[in-house]
């Protein structure tokens, strides 16, 4: 099965080195309270992972769709913002 990295490879990004635009408000909510971690299923760029009982987020491949924020409606635990001007995904076609 195709891994998501194979897909992101073609995209153009300008990574805002140490200023991730999405943050988990409180990790313990994800690790202990949330039982489904649906963000890991719905994210089209595979930025969210849940392994060994710990939530993981890496925003450098993010497509800025907003699904993780919307899907996390039970706990509202995603602090979601756009990257700084000119940073993040830059669609060549869109």
């Amino acid at each position: 099965m195709i891994k998501v990295e194979e897909k992101l490879f073609q995209n153009r990004y300008r990574v805002d080195a140490d200023l991730p635009h999405i943050r988990v408000k409180d990790n313990t909510v994800c690790n202990d309270l949330c039982s489904t971690q649906q963000c890991t299923v719905c994210c089209p760029a595979g930025c969210w992972t849940f392994e060994a009982g710990k939530i993981g987020l890496m925003t450098d491949g993010c497509l800025e769709c907003g699904a993780c924020r919307v899907v996390c409606d039970e706990f509202k635990n995603v602090d979601w913002n756009y990257p700084r001007g000119g940073y993040g995904i830059l669609f060549k076609f869109g």
Partner: protein
């Protein structure tokens, strides 16, 4: 760089040399030395220069500039050992430390006096600085960072091939109706020739008439580099990278152990960083760093294209993975299929033995004759 055309080879314009350019003969190599020490790229270029000279049936000459003294003379002898037929020696106190203006004047005057058809320099900070100014002064063509030099049998022209567009493409460049044809080559691209101690040749002195007071730029001091701690992945010559295949965070220690023995930098795949095992500044790949080391050891890295893009330029890739059909095996040079956590310590011991680091037991000699 002129516009990139399609990949079909463009019919090269028939180059007709002007009358006066026919006098330009011979292949020159600029021997770069700083603080009495010759940069090895110069000897690599002598090896390449020898081949070009033999193909053209002309002399190979070395150009040496420094303050007069035993070091300069020793370097001339070494130049003969590495294949020079003749050495142009320019001895002047003004040339003791590299400064653009005096070195450019000396080299330009020498070229105008003895007219070589090809002039090669190392693509070091010194070589590129000097080549740029000399080429402009002589109003001739210069190709930088060449990975391959060849002679076009038809018209004896130098064909310089180099990477372009960030290394994703190669292009062959030709100097038209201008001489000398200049090119710079990076360290460790051309093989190092075997010195022949019995060779000797003619030393020709040249005085460009340099006067210190004319030179405006002064060198106040030289500060040598101390050990770098910040990761220098883009310039590292050996890199050991770890990926998710290692299983868990503390197995990354095995990667650090091997890197320490090899004096290598440590890199990682996006997945390992994602798992929080190592800092994001060590990421090799599309959204991380692009590296071009001599040796790249990938432990537990599947080799997805996003990682491959960042490291496939490595000269020698060793892939360790327990998944026999991991994509990395398609482009790695050597592969060991097995559990990285067993292979890595064994590799650390083997390399340690070979490099006879203190903690290894084997006697020094075996390491020496293997070197």
């Amino acid at each position: 760089m002129s516009e990139v055309k399609t990949t079909k080879p463009i019919k090269k314009r028939k180059i007709k040399l002007d009358e006066n350019l026919l006098a330009y003969r011979g292949v020159w190599v600029y021997i770069e030395s700083e603080r009495g020490h010759v940069h090895p790229v110069s000897w690599e270029l002598m090896g390449q220069g020898r081949q070009l000279a033999d193909q053209l049936g002309v002399e190979l000459c070395a150009v040496l500039m420094d303050a007069a003294g035993p070091a300069l003379d020793a370097h001339c002898n070494s130049a003969f050992h590495f294949g020079a037929d003749r050495c142009y020696r320019i001895a002047s106190p003004v040339l003791s430390d590299y400064r653009n203006v005096p070195f450019t004047k000396a080299l330009t005057d020498l070229v105008n006096a003895h007219k070589p058809e090809i002039l090669l320099l190392g693509a070091t900070t010194l070589g590129r600085d000097l080549a740029g100014s000399v080429a402009t002064t002589l109003r001739t063509g210069l190709t930088a960072d060449c990975t391959e030099l060849a002679i076009d049998p038809e018209d004896r022209c130098l064909l310089s091939t180099r990477p372009t567009f960030g290394g994703s493409l190669l292009c062959t460049i030709v100097t038209l109706n201008y001489r000398p044809q200049m090119a710079t080559v990076r360290h460790r691209v051309m093989p190092m020739p075997e010195p022949q101690p019995e060779r000797t040749g003619l030393i020709v002195d040249f005085d460009p008439g340099l006067i210190e007071t004319d030179i405006v730029t002064k060198i106040l001091e030289f500060i040598p580099d101390e050990m770098r701690d910040k990761p220098h992945l883009p310039y590292a010559e050996i890199i050991v990278s770890g990926g998710k295949g290692l299983g868990k965070a503390d197995n990354f220690k095995l990667v650090w152990d091997l890197a320490h023995v090899l004096g290598a930098e440590v890199g990682a795949s996006r997945a390992a960083i994602h798992a929080g095992w190592i800092g994001a500044d060590r990421q090799v790949g599309q959204t991380g760093k692009t590296v071009r080391p001599a040796l790249y050891i990938a432990a537990g890295i599947s080799g997805a294209i996003q990682h491959r893009v960042g490291m496939e330029g490595a000269d020698c890739i060793i892939a360790l993975n327990n998944d026999p059909n991991a994509p990395i095996f398609d482009f790695a040079h050597y592969a060991i299929v097995g559990d990285c956590n067993q292979i890595l310590p064994a590799l650390t011991r083997s390399f340690g033995t070979y490099l006879s680091k203190p903690e290894t037991k084997v006697v020094m000699e075996t390491a020496k004759e293997l070197a």
